[in-house]
Symmetry: C2
Subunit: 309 residues, 2 copies
């Protein structure tokens, strides 16, 4: 069998990196020649986790076809979140926990999605099913991914499966869950060290909602003021990027990871749809959403519904 590549979405987060490493190792046990790569440099949180568990950052690719004919996707399936030339290669495996959208294949494949908080939770099950022991460093990265995606199991996306996976991975990784988790989340929230462009790009994903190009970014912080003190500059960067990338609506979720609240910063057309989606008015382009932490579960669905209404 020819070599394959496995990677997560653009703007890689901790789950995307951990799941790629994890699936690569699992498939290698079956003799598959597969290398975990990334579609971008690791963010500060992921760097912390990679350092902590003594793992090298993944090689960054911008296209797949020059190297391989077959790929595996983790933590995403929507082509616009994937490698630029996805339509030139065959997808043989997907492990994901998001909706399925614009994903079409010509041949049958292994597709494993579950409505859980994190791709790494699904991978934990897959190791069990294949009776493969999870190496310590990979367990640590998968644990980091679940902590990151569920914000220490506090996000409404959290399921019993995520909790069970954390319980198991903690033992293999040999860390104190809460202590390690807060250190890792804080490492990912060093707002002062990040440029305006990095803040609005760092964890951004593109969606098409009823024909409208919507960009939704999420900035994790331990203090909302660290971000909003720079509101004017951040808005300028958002406008700039909307112009160059053709986004119609740009939504930035600024999320306090310690108390699980979010304030939106919204720019562009269709801001009335955002107001309709959450039943609140924007003031100074901002809207407080207490208890909201999940883009996937608490922002994308109401916004999609409002666009389709």
């Amino acid at each position: 069998m020819s070599k394959q590549l496995v990677f997560g979405h653009q703007n890689p987060d901790t789950d995307t990196i951990a799941a790629a490493i994890s699936l690569a190792y699992l498939r290698q046990q079956d003799g598959v020649d597969v290398e975990a790569v990334a579609l971008g440099e690791p963010n500060a949180e992921t760097k912390f986790a990679l350092d902590y568990f003594d793992t090298k950052p993944l090689r960054v690719i911008t296209a797949a076809k020059p190297e391989v004919d077959q790929v595996m996707l983790v933590d995403h399936n929507e082509p616009q979140q994937s490698v630029s030339d996805l339509n030139q290669v065959q997808v043989t495996n997907v492990v994901d926990h998001h909706r399925i959208h614009d994903f079409n294949t010509e041949k049958p494949l292994y597709y494993r999605a579950e409505p859980v908080g994190c791709s790494s939770t699904i991978l934990t099950k897959m190791y069990h099913e294949k009776n493969v022991a999870i190496p310590k460093n990979i367990a640590g990265l998968m644990l980091s991914a679940i902590i990151s995606d569920t914000l220490l199991l506090k996000s409404p996306t959290t399921t019993d499966d995520d909790k069970a996976a954390v319980e198991e991975l903690v033992k293999i990784a040999g860390v104190d869950y809460n202590d390690y988790g807060i250190k890792m989340l804080k490492a990912g929230t060093n707002i002062a060290a990040r440029s305006d462009k990095d803040l609005i790009d760092g964890d951004a994903k593109s969606f098409t909602m009823n024909g409208v190009n919507v960009r939704i970014d999420q900035i994790n912080t331990v203090d909302l003021d660290d971000v909003f003190a720079r509101q004017a500059d951040i808005e300028a960067a958002m406008k700039d990027e909307m112009h160059t990338e053709g986004y119609d609506l740009f939504v930035v979720m600024v999320t306090n990871v310690l108390n699980s609240d979010t304030e939106l910063l919204v720019i562009g057309s269709h801001t009335d749809v955002v107001e309709k989606a959450f039943g609140k008015k924007l003031e100074n382009n901002r809207m407080a959403l207490p208890g909201v932490v999940s883009r996937k579960k608490q922002v994308v669905p109401p916004l999609t519904d409002a666009f389709n209404a």
Copy 2:
């Protein structure tokens, strides 16, 4: 939780019925209120299996939304092969072994696809993973499904997983695999008892290939002459249906289940693409394809490639 329905594709075959019954039972063990239903009456082969394993035929539905808001799909995912109002309901589970095509969701879901010979093979694994014992009659139906989809494990779609599932299901069902399998396959091939329309509809699926509406049916038989003796009448029925349903190209695979050969009967436009796909000329609208038994693996991919070339 509200009640859900689980069903396979239109023109139900044995796997579609067995997998619906099997997934319903598995989810019921988790307290989910779900009823297995069908999008059509069982064919002769499936009736034989249901009778043999003392199971009632499933209730037939034509629309989902009047009854439920949520559904589960087995053995298919393409909307044009599914219930007419699929876009009105939420899909919460898919268990399938086909390509993914035109399948979009708004929310995360449980999606389990593997490139194996039969959906019931995947379900056998899922029972293991959940530590649920497979009831004897359901094991018998799942075994029947694998025998049907892989033609007694002889189709090139057959994988080691299918073989392992058969080995296990035979023990639970308590039948002689080969003896039961040949009886069941023969029960499904009583050509004389079937109308021309039933022959061309019985196991037909619709595909869109590069914008062309392609209908591909498969007729299992123990003697190709039983079918081709009626060629003129069958062609007339095909033409009739192309006209009423808007198919551009109608391909009927006539498959000898005992020696694993197929002869195509082809009507409509783009017959040159069929010739290109298989590198052979049609004579009298027919083309012999020795060793071909799998629509999914041996007919759809070359035809899709030829349409896209």
